[in-house]
Point group: D2
Chain length 150, copies 4
Amino acid sequence: MKEERFAAPEGAFTRQVQIRFSHCDPAGIVYFPHYFNMFNGLIEDWYTEELGVNYAELVLHDQHGFPFVHIETDFKIPSRMGEVLDLTLLIERIGRSSLTLVIVGHHDGVERLRARTVTAMMSLASRRSVELPANLRQAFDTYAAKTAAG
Amino acid sequence: MKEERFAAPEGAFTRQVQIRFSHCDPAGIVYFPHYFNMFNGLIEDWYTEELGVNYAELVLHDQHGFPFVHIETDFKIPSRMGEVLDLTLLIERIGRSSLTLVIVGHHDGVERLRARTVTAMMSLASRRSVELPANLRQAFDTYAAKTAAG
Amino acid sequence: MKEERFAAPEGAFTRQVQIRFSHCDPAGIVYFPHYFNMFNGLIEDWYTEELGVNYAELVLHDQHGFPFVHIETDFKIPSRMGEVLDLTLLIERIGRSSLTLVIVGHHDGVERLRARTVTAMMSLASRRSVELPANLRQAFDTYAAKTAAG
Amino acid sequence: MKEERFAAPEGAFTRQVQIRFSHCDPAGIVYFPHYFNMFNGLIEDWYTEELGVNYAELVLHDQHGFPFVHIETDFKIPSRMGEVLDLTLLIERIGRSSLTLVIVGHHDGVERLRARTVTAMMSLASRRSVELPANLRQAFDTYAAKTAAG
């Protein structure tokens, strides 16, 4: 497979993940379910650090959940213990209650994996999807505009 | 979302997974990365129990890996602690070195999630994809024919 | 380290765990936190299958938790992918709200690991420990008597 | 249980762990096996960042493993999503091939959990324990001296 370059748009939210012994399988590379854990952590940090919306409070206080409705991932280049993987989060689509994100894993400017995830906002009490509240929608819009490629 | 019925084709490989406390998140439902772990376990059991090819030996003795190249999943209905989820494995496509599987999670005849996974056979030594050996290809063909819907 | 033999007392609750690819680390052996997951699953199955007390209902319906207060484990012999590990559960002590269990992992009559765990019964609402209810205490007593070495 | 204060000795290696959704169980608190994962990550970071010994190279290049021989943990106060847990690592004993560490989890000066772990240095090739090399022993001695309580 030929190498694909990746450069995050300016202003995009990127976090580094240290690849640890605990992530790796007998083949010495990241066991793939761990990536989904990393994605979930990235999304939490994005809410809290970038959007200024405390993710833990959304769940614990506001009693909202953000279950994954769909996820698709292309695993292009494996990662190994001791490496650092950069994860960048981009918005693809803002729906009524759903949010479609793209998460790109990259290292030294080369794309290693790419995921598209659809989460839906849900009330933990009613177990039904709820419309995105105005403050979240506004925060998503702002981030989407800021990171839209020129 | 309206309920979708699922009936496994006759002869299809199905295993039951007990949903445990350890699978569930603060919302009381399975935290989604655990599903990928379940898929991997299902595929291991399918090799060993259905195809008669010892998966551990493929890895440890033959030094072959089966990394995921692509995976996509629709999560339709959540599962809760104490429930039993049925996982059924079907073949979608047999490539030169790749295998495309469909895994359906269902409960009481209702589909709860559906995944499509592409794995590629790889040499752990050369870290390159290798052509599926004749015995595996034969086993895949037999299973695909057996489970093809009439 | 010299080999230690283990024979489960008659009537003891033993379950087999298939050691999977997902359990193993780059050294090819079980990554130790997975054992604690296995212990938790064993305890769940013991409640439900041996004691006749549905563990999921204890948590979800009765709103009781069983947090670990203490756990200690000796890891004696590693386990590898493709092996089957036998886990046997024994009662060491029944307290007012606590239960001390011994879990022995063994294979072909040889002890591989041994854990001692103390769990306390807790109300999820009050977050305080609660006295073991009579039916649980009775079930624990019966199991302890049944598995006491002659 | 009465609160126990904890103050890390000066110079002690402490890292913060963000408690995430993925760590928490249906009772809303950290599912205990995740703590062992955190301990392993802390030890890796301690080797690399504090001792100046690249942990990934020890494993991948030097082909050494550090399996846990024994671990015991007291869980005193649970941690919840959104909290930050401080983990401090101290040396208790330096053996011929083994290292006994104490790891304390604390928050706002209050001890939440305390573990004692014994790891042994092992050759991945021979699968036997090996004597600690001089550079590691020296690094351990220096750290132990530096963090010894006055």
